[in-house]
């Protein structure tokens, strides 16, 4: 680990005043400390924001509000979340391990870095870690990599499960700097790699992610998160799907779908949503609707199974919701 200066902020103002060009905020540390050990991230200054008063979880007429420093475990277990947005709770409970969920914050979760093995290994070429050095994954081992939104420069997935649920629910992140606060839809917050894969999102240097807002969606009570992985607990997704349906009788009045493990960012599936509206929620109609779910996919040498696995994961998620009250 490279040396850094360490300080702790007790107010948001103090945090914003203390942040500099080469500083990193420390929340739960489960990404930052890991990547500092690997010397993939080497900030000159670490500013601990863990004790900032940004941990509340509340619901009002504008939706669900979660402070950036609320813990994954606390959000997953909160009754507002389990009752109104089960997909968020399930995405969190399918993430990492109980110890990590006790440490990791919601803000840190949406800002976590890719798990691409080459990104984590400074001895290899990686445009995301070292711009212009190349991409070892494209010609290397890429079974877990993305098939949607990829470029010649980078094919890494965004690993957050929570972000997939949040994109399905049209959530926004609240970003604060010395000038004020702005809200950005999470779907627009993440950037496609293009030829600048080191730029992952719209967070400005020194800007603080203050919280997440999920707009009201009464029918999100009927929602779920299905995650397919190599071992059942404690593993990142090969594919995952966040789904919510507004069911009238057996007809799909409205639906939200987003996928993880397949895209360079959490992947909303508007074409499949369109194909499902006004159709009955039945195996045959769902299977027909997902046929074109991955038409834009460009599989790599080791992940040709992902488009079909994605289609099947969507079907599984939707049929899981069919039987629910």
């Amino acid at each position: 680990m490279r040396p850094f200066t360490y300080a702790s902020a007790s107010t948001v103002e103090e945090a914003l005043a203390g942040a500099g060009a080469d500083s990193a905020y420390l929340a739960g540390g489960t990404t930052l400390v890991d990547l500092m050990k690997l010397e993939v991230m080497s900030p000159a200054a670490v500013l601990n924001i863990d004790t900032l008063p940004l941990r509340d979880i509340r619901h009002d007429h504008t939706g669900l509000h979660v402070g950036a420093l609320a813990r994954m475990s606390d959000v997953a277990a909160h009754r507002l979340v389990t009752a109104r947005y089960p997909v968020i709770s399930q995405a969190l409970l399918h993430s990492a391990s109980p110890q990590l969920r006790n440490m990791a914050s919601i803000g840190g979760n949406v800002l976590q870095r890719t798990r691409c093995g080459y990104f984590r290994d400074p001895a290899t070429a990686c445009n995301k870690r070292t711009p212009g050095s190349g991409c070892a994954a494209i010609t290397g081992y890429n079974r877990a990599h993305a098939v949607l939104g990829t470029s010649e420069s980078c094919v890494a997935t965004h690993p957050s499960d929570l972000a997939v649920a949040l994109v399905a629910l049209d959530a926004s992140v609240l970003l604060r700097d010395r000038a004020g606060e702005r809200a950005v839809r999470l779907a627009d917050f993440y950037l496609l790699p293009g030829d600048t894969p080191h730029l992952e999102n719209r967070l400005r240097p020194g800007e603080l992610l203050a919280g997440v807002t999920v707009p009201p969606l009464s029918w999100a009570r009927r929602s779920t998160y299905v995650k397919v992985r190599d071992r059942r607990p404690y593993e990142f997704a090969l594919t995952s799907v966040a789904a919510a349906v507004d069911l009238r009788g057996d007809t799909i009045a409205d639906v939200r779908l987003a996928a993880g493990g397949v895209g360079t960012k959490p992947w909303r599936l508007p074409a499949v949503e369109d194909a499902l509206r006004s159709r009955p929620l039945r195996a045959d109609t769902v299977k027909a609707a997902v046929t074109h779910a991955a038409d834009d996919a460009t599989p790599l040498s080791h992940n040709g199974f992902k488009p079909e696995l994605l289609r099947r994961t969507i079907v599984r998620a939707l049929l899981t919701l069919a039987g629910r009250p």
Binding site: T5, Q99, L100
Partner: protein, 199 residues
């Protein structure tokens, strides 16, 4: 018992002293120590920071490098070597301790980031000579082979009971999944969690 404790302590002490001596010799000889990386200019002000750690009821005022993890600080500075370093990357659970009564990974926690917060390690579970019921359950159920993962397993198991996740074997397995066991003692670990949790 007295004797074996005594010899353990002096063995560790001996190893530490001889490491210090050989390091001194190497430096005196002008050789570059093995494994040294290119020196990096530290940013101004990157020196040690003061932190007060509250571990197993005791208070320790320390000057630590900001890079020091809670795991290394427990083991190297406070000589609490019950907490194990498996992966040092947040992947195995061997370093599990409780901070504020919740289980966390000490290998991804900076020591400087937990000032004055109560920390419990495996050494803090027993009541004097009486093992914690979960420790006893691990012994009774033979829930270990080499024992390297065991302190982390026990710390997680105590937390699983406190969190109320012992409803079924499946639930126990799910909520113990952050603790890997290279010897695969999993079936007896599940049995121990049940016994230790009074189920």
């Amino acid at each position: 018992m007295e004797d074996s404790t005594e010899s353990e302590v002096s063995r560790r002490g001996f190893l530490a002293r001889s490491a210090a001596v050989s390091a001194a010799v190497t430096v005196a000889g002008g050789a570059v120590p093995a494994g040294a990386t290119t020196p990096v200019a530290a940013p101004p002000g990157a020196g040690p920071v003061e932190v007060t750690l509250r571990v197993n009821g005791g208070t320790h005022r320390l000057r630590v490098d900001p890079r020091a993890t809670l795991l290394d600080t427990l083991r190297e500075r406070l000589e609490l070597t019950g907490t194990k370093k498996g992966c040092d990357r947040g992947q195995c659970g061997a370093c599990t301790v409780h901070v504020d009564g919740r289980r966390v990974l000490s290998c991804l926690t900076l020591a400087a980031s937990v000032p004055n917060r109560p920390v419990t390690t495996i050494e803090g579970l027993a009541d004097g000579d009486r093992p914690h019921p979960m420790q006893q359950a691990f012994v009774d159920c033979d829930a270990l082979q080499c024992g390297f993962c065991t302190p982390g397993q026990v710390m997680s198991a105590v937390a699983v009971v406190r969190e109320g996740h012992t409803g079924s074997d499946e639930e126990i397995r799910e909520f113990m999944s952050g603790n890997l066991c290279r010897c695969a003692a999993y079936p007896t670990i599940v049995a121990a969690v049940k016994q230790g949790g009074g189920r």
